[in-house]
Symmetry: D2
Subunit: 363 residues, 4 copies
């Protein structure tokens, strides 16, 4: 079940960039959940390209149509399918993708995987466009989570060499998360916005692209979600995150910085805050032994620079079986980090919904 994620909240994604439609089937949603579709549309719009000079000028019509699983204003408990029609594409633009392998893309690995039968137009099933149904699913999940007091927020921690401040590991207010969602370049230190924009525009000017880091926090989770083997909360979140195109690293809490710490500095001391158990620090990112401890879950993902660049690149032609050069035509995102922020939030929301539903079994 390659294209299905989740044991209890099972998300199936289908579609190709230039096919008839892309979409998702959301199975295992609790019945009786009201969904604010406008809020879902807002999330999808955050991901959409073409909003400003920093992203591609292609216009994508990401209007979704719910096919099933929603009745009289509530989820039915049966599968909710949503379809997003693809617009008309001039597929000839992509003809060379059949045999000229774009470096950094899945053209070659995908061609081998599917014996050359996969739809190569616009990256096909590998296209970043497939994150639209993911955002749809996450936006639905986040409304269900919100009703249980869970909030998910994210910001750009880094673009190129510019680094934002970090979330306070002991927690941030939901209002901050909401305000971040309004920003094109959501950062904590607003002085970094223009610097980041500078990095992006400089890369664009060089016909190049630039990567970054996204930091994500989930607040309001109860302690006791997840499992030691093999379905830790980190396992669930990382499994999901590495389905987001361009993500190449993930760390929880202090992550790689823990490598140079001492145990006395890395351990998060517990204390009673009234009847509530809390930790004084949160270097473990709210997770001990794969299970939430009630503190905010905190993680960061590394996003590589988008591989689609206009510069001349060396590569191979699988038709002639010879080396060749490639100039990728058309307009491309010089940076996808800002568009990946709602994707990371959505992906985290779905993964956490599944962890919750899979853990909280009671007879």
């Amino acid at each position: 079940m390659n294209n299905t994620f989740g044991r209890s909240a099972a998300l199936t994604i289908f579609g190709e960039s230039h096919g008839v439609s892309i979409g998702a089937v959301l199975d295992g949603l609790p019945a009786g959940e009201a969904i604010d579709w406008d809020a879902v549309r807002t999330e999808i719009a955050r991901r959409a390209p073409g909003r400003n000079a920093m992203s591609t000028a292609r216009s994508e019509a990401d209007a979704f149509e719910v096919q099933s699983g929603f009745f009289n204003g509530y989820t039915t408990g049966t599968p909710l399918c949503a379809v997003i029609r693809n617009g008309d594409h001039r597929s000839k633009d992509y003809d060379q993708l059949r045999h000229i392998m774009r470096p950094g893309h899945a053209d070659y690995s995908g061609k081998i995987r599917y014996g050359g039968y996969n739809d190569f137009r616009g990256g096909g099933h590998f296209s970043g466009r497939l994150t639209a149904p993911l955002v749809f699913a996450g936006a639905v999940a986040s409304q269900i989570l919100k009703r249980r007091g869970v909030a998910v927020g994210a910001h750009i921690l880094q673009i190129g060499s510019v680094r934002d401040a970090s979330f306070h590991p002991l927690g941030e207010d939901e209002a901050l998360f909401e305000s971040l969602k309004q920003e094109t370049l959501p950062v904590l230190d607003k002085t970094k916005q223009s610097e980041m924009e500078g990095e992006i525009m400089a890369a664009k000017g060089d016909l190049d692209s630039v990567g970054g880091v996204i930091e994500c926090m989930i607040t309001g989770l109860p302690a006791g979600l997840g499992n030691p083997f093999f379905d830790s909360v980190e396992s669930a979140l990382s499994h999901m995150m590495f389905s987001v195109p361009a993500v190449k690293g993930i760390e929880f809490g202090d992550g790689f910085a823990l490598a140079s710490m001492r145990g006395s500095g890395a351990n998060d001391a517990f204390y009673y805050d009234g009847a509530a158990v809390r930790t004084k620090t949160n270097r473990n990112g709210g997770i001990n032994g794969g299970i939430t401890n009630g503190m905010p879950v905190l993680f960061r993902v590394a996003v590589k620079p988008t591989p689609s660049i206009s510069r001349l690149q060396e590569t191979i032609d699988t038709d002639t079986q010879e080396n060749c050069t490639l100039e990728i035509k058309g307009r491309h995102d010089p940076c996808i980090v800002q568009r990946a922020v709602p994707v990371v939030e959505a992906a985290a929301s779905w993964a956490i919904l599944d962890v919750w539903l899979s853990t909280e079994k009671r007879m």
Copy 2:
């Protein structure tokens, strides 16, 4: 199926540190595979504690007994179960674990998860001891992979502030992997061994512990393994790695360093090396779009300092529901990074075996 990993090669782990036994069921192994049990024993011995001053002086009898699935020198294709008996433990040593929550451990999160019914002695099911059956499974998997030309190697990239050289991303010789397996502190730059040992002994002297980073490489994989959604090779490996206690981060290829790169620097140019397709660099860690591209798979995991330290720590007593202090008695590993190396290799071997068997379906 919390305690089962894998769609095709399904690994189930059971046991608690101070229970009768720990063990594993390996389901979905190809039939007809010869297994060198001495080689498996060697791998398990690499993980075992008590080999020198750098690890705990507890002696663990990690002798496994194969119960099933092996007949006349070959795997049968039916489940292979192995059991590792636990020795006699003076369980009273661990009595305070029931109500005094060790910081950085799963004592609290596990207590909530299992309603206080989980076996708390020695960490129970959360104990690092549970990695012994994981090493068993991985050692079996690695022999099966080796027969197909796949080699898995790892070294300590970092302990505390000491950093080793890195694997050459375009590939290392299997002989290097083998020689690394002989080392207590497997590093590429041998001058770092004494420095790392110094870090560890210094932490020990301070009644403290220290973390590190492990770098792992898998060579010889064919292109075309894995999937875009949701079972990317990165998803499979990270899902597995975050089941290894103390792992808090993972990155593939250049990982987090990609965040500050340009696309022109991050893209790996393809070229024909005779009939073979290779890349000139390997900043994507051998994986494009979640699928192997034929280059070595390269990743690094962050290992936090072991939370068991002898220093006085602040924490809570869930019996009295009051804050308290804790001194963890007994001998503890000042560093588990070196013992985690064979665990990471084993975990990678099993995950890759499953990816391979799950991808290579032919009718």
Copy 3:
């Protein structure tokens, strides 16, 4: 993953009878399979109602639209989604379904299952209409199987008290299967057609309905598919068949008749037919120990009379919480057995495709 069937060939079904659309996502199909869509349409038409006096006069537009996973005439290997739009329904006809529970239907059990939020119009997700995407999936699977020499055929063994002859357990010709597909009432003994039609029309005349038995055979399967625990071929087929509405029993080979046999009569003697291994009888339905033995797989399913009848019935009103009577308005199938034949064939095709892909793992 309630609405997903299959480990390797994973079928997800969505939709409600009166929602926007119903459909299916077919994940794990081999890449590079040509699909004859006209042949799929033919299968779907076999299931459709309104073909004659024996089935409901409602007209259903079962035109499917493939959304993804098919490119340049071949399956891509990525998920193939098909959507079947629902026509306009006068939903008021179904208003009483919200609170008057139809006996024999899932109105009550479904209401409890989904807390009353499920779409009750026309049975919603429980509607027999959901078998249309199942037929779609099976028709695709059967073309893939046919290319490997596998044929699936079925006939009506019984309707009411009229019983057809049985398939010869040692195998039937594929041509017979094809000719059966042309029939409205597919039977081996053509003299039974009018008798069966008589049973159906008599039930209709009585404002009642009638059940039956369908016999299905799968020829051309290699020996060695399936597993002893827990994924036997019988397990896979029965799991699937009990998803087909109205199926209440299944038996393999001689099935329940084996209960009164002696072992000497029930055992199928092996013999060499040249180099081929065959059995002299096939009382085990081509399956030993859960695994195919190379002989035809043979099974029968019991189909209960359709619960929608026009007669006055006793039941409950969940609004008033009182007993009441019910007259189901509209036109209903007096017998769905003939319409279930292509559904059983399709369901068997998908289940067998999954068994094959799940078994035939090779490295």
Copy 4:
């Protein structure tokens, strides 16, 4: 995951008849469940052979040892593994099984499935002995279910040509279930015991065997468990039952008899019994649309005559690739139906526990 059953309560079985041990891993059990191990032993003893002249005189030591998952008198919530050691076997008795294929057994299909590497001694992984860990798991599950008011009972409905009375479909008292468990030949009409014994002894006298039917009832289940697609209660139970060796058919409620009924006779009328919803008949076996309706779940399984008979049989020798004859030496069960009764009860208990845990997700 061939050898694992269940989404939430995941049962993994391992072992071969003549290997070191057989056993089971029970994952996903609720934490905090007291288990009466003597009651589990009683269930396992019911399955054991050698209790009287009607079953094989082989003595089997079915003493289980719990390895994990149980602490201080309660389930821990982590995997519970139990191992049953195999006794010493004179494996030479079974030498011919390597190349002389026993009719009706899995010798041939298993040999093909596993490329000849499977353990053939005593049937290996296909042995009926593998039902001992299944009974273990079911006995644990039944105690958990009992605490929620669920009772599981079974009796022999038929052996050869002798047929017992049926359970009352509207429900039986738990006391009846308990008294049936005390019987060697559990039947409702005690006059049938000697007739059934006569059938068995006659078969034995003829060096032959005889089959039968087992009827099983589950009372006390709440309405609303299960799913329409694809995890109906019938799907779950049948999937499990066809893992029990020798089972070749299953029917729910009136099953195959529904084929000759009218809808007016097959529909179960709902009524209010005070506040409780009940049905006046139970021809659907307590399941509508794949979901429990609150009435007893009722099903019957067909058990074929044990294929091990002492008579001379025709078969093949895979070494010489010639036809041959076979006389199976040793003592064999002339009837396994009575020994299968506790297996069916146990298998039903586990399957229902999983359905319950998989359905009852709440956030």
